[in-house]
Symmetry: C2
Subunit: 264 residues, 2 copies
């Protein structure tokens, strides 16, 4: 039987993964959930992130998803083991695929990786563990960038404000000279312009894209149902729709539906 | 029997009301709840805000509160009628008290008021209605400032970033020449410095303070139990504690307890 893929994030960030899905799984069906009623996740505790992630996953499975892409760095760093334990379907997060890609680049360079993430992601140490499990010699520096998600969620992906916070968070990382910079939160590729301007010598790694690449290795596209993206949020579908249009570069087909995530 | 007062907000903003409570009800007990698991409220829909506000209020009543101060502009603008209808205890929001104070000032001046609020507050039109109910001749302009709450919640209450967004949101309001500017979200008094610098000719109105003044008219201090503030949040008590110390200028006595608000 053809499979359906579920993708979730705290809000708009996962759309960077959805956009990659549409490229790699051209014409295949996926179900997207953005937990817009409870965004941001990155400032919350590991327990709360885990509880929310379980509800998000259960919703997508109830909707028919037979593989889950956790397109959220914070959930991938804090709750992936719990999701894998609790649910019977395969669950693919962003941490391991992004770590693999970064190590591949860093091993051929100076052996240095910078990880940008939310406070909860940096606190978890998940990227360091994943990187050093592949190659213990790699030197990793992590930087929490808590204002990046509100900037993206409010549409400030370029301009003075985005550049100001990028400088504040990243200027000290320039001299570290990382070969690769993991955009460890799926919101951050929306800020690639201002991030790339400061960390010019590093390759930026889109963690949501790497998760989709990993999903395709696990489940070839021909095994996935034909169709379009279906979009669900837990609040304010119009606002999501408006920004999704900016981020995806097109209308979201069939609109965005609102569901009560707390009942899952 | 002596009464206990409950104060709630989506997060740290209500501390501006708590600080006023401590001045006006010196040595009296209050219970504070900050919904840090679901902050911010100001980007959410009216339905979701209403559902969250009912849970917040129920928690405080279960804890013994016999009067509720809604120290959140977004809830006051979107859910106050529902709270008044659903609960037996008096519920005092920030909109009407702040509107009264602003009208008092504007009526003696140019008759102009600027309202700063979250997207949900501005969308509700609640301040305009409250102001024009008192005096239909007052001219009101409202400005949504969606980045102010993330700035405050992340500790950016002064400096370049705070000034940048203040300019972006407020520069067009300078020529309006309002007599009074309602800081319609209780987070905003933390940004009084940068706001006041731009709107120098206007009186800034702290809506949380006005709500506490209204509460004291309703319930004289001698009828309130002696005691201290008790602090509850729905997530990450350490982070709240750390910023509360900055905002209240002292340690939060007896620490901050974490509760599961979704069970209320």
């Amino acid at each position: 039987m053809a499979k359906t893929i579920g993708i979730f994030d705290s809000g708009l960030g996962g759309l960077t993964a959805a956009a990659e899905f549409e490229k790699l799984f051209n014409g295949k069906k996926y179900i997207y959930f953005g937990d817009t009623a409870r965004v941001p996740y990155g400032t919350k505790s590991a327990d709360t992130i885990c509880r929310y992630a379980c509800q998000d996953t259960k919703f997508l499975i109830d909707k028919g998803a037979s593989l889950i892409i956790v397109a959220c760095g914070t959930v991938s760093a804090n709750a992936i083991d719990e999701l894998k334990k609790r649910f019977d379907v395969p669950v693919i997060g962003v941490v391991e695929p992004a770590a693999e890609k970064a190590v591949e680049i860093a091993a051929a360079g100076n052996g240095r990786i910078t990880v940008l993430g939310t406070s909860a992601t940096v606190k978890s140490g998940a990227y360091e563990r994943a990187i050093n499990k592949i190659d213990p010699k790699i030197e990793v520096r992590s930087v929490a960038c808590p204002m990046f998600v509100p900037l993206v969620e409010n549409g400030y992906t370029e301009g003075e404000a985005a550049a100001l916070f990028a400088r504040e968070y990243l200027e000290n990382s320039v001299s570290f000279g990382a070969d690769a910079v993991i955009l460890g939160c799926t919101h951050y590729p929306h800020l690639s312009g201002v991030i790339g301007e400061i960390l010019q010598r590093s390759v930026l790694i889109n963690s949501g894209k790497e998760a989709v690449v990993a999903a395709k290795k696990y489940l070839p596209a021909h095994m996935v149902s034909d169709g379009n993206g279906e979009f669900y949020v837990s609040d304010a579908p119009e606002a999501f729709s408006r920004l999704a249009r900016v981020f995806m570069g097109r209308e979201v087909a069939d609109g965005v539906k609102c569901i009560d995530i707390e009942s899952y």
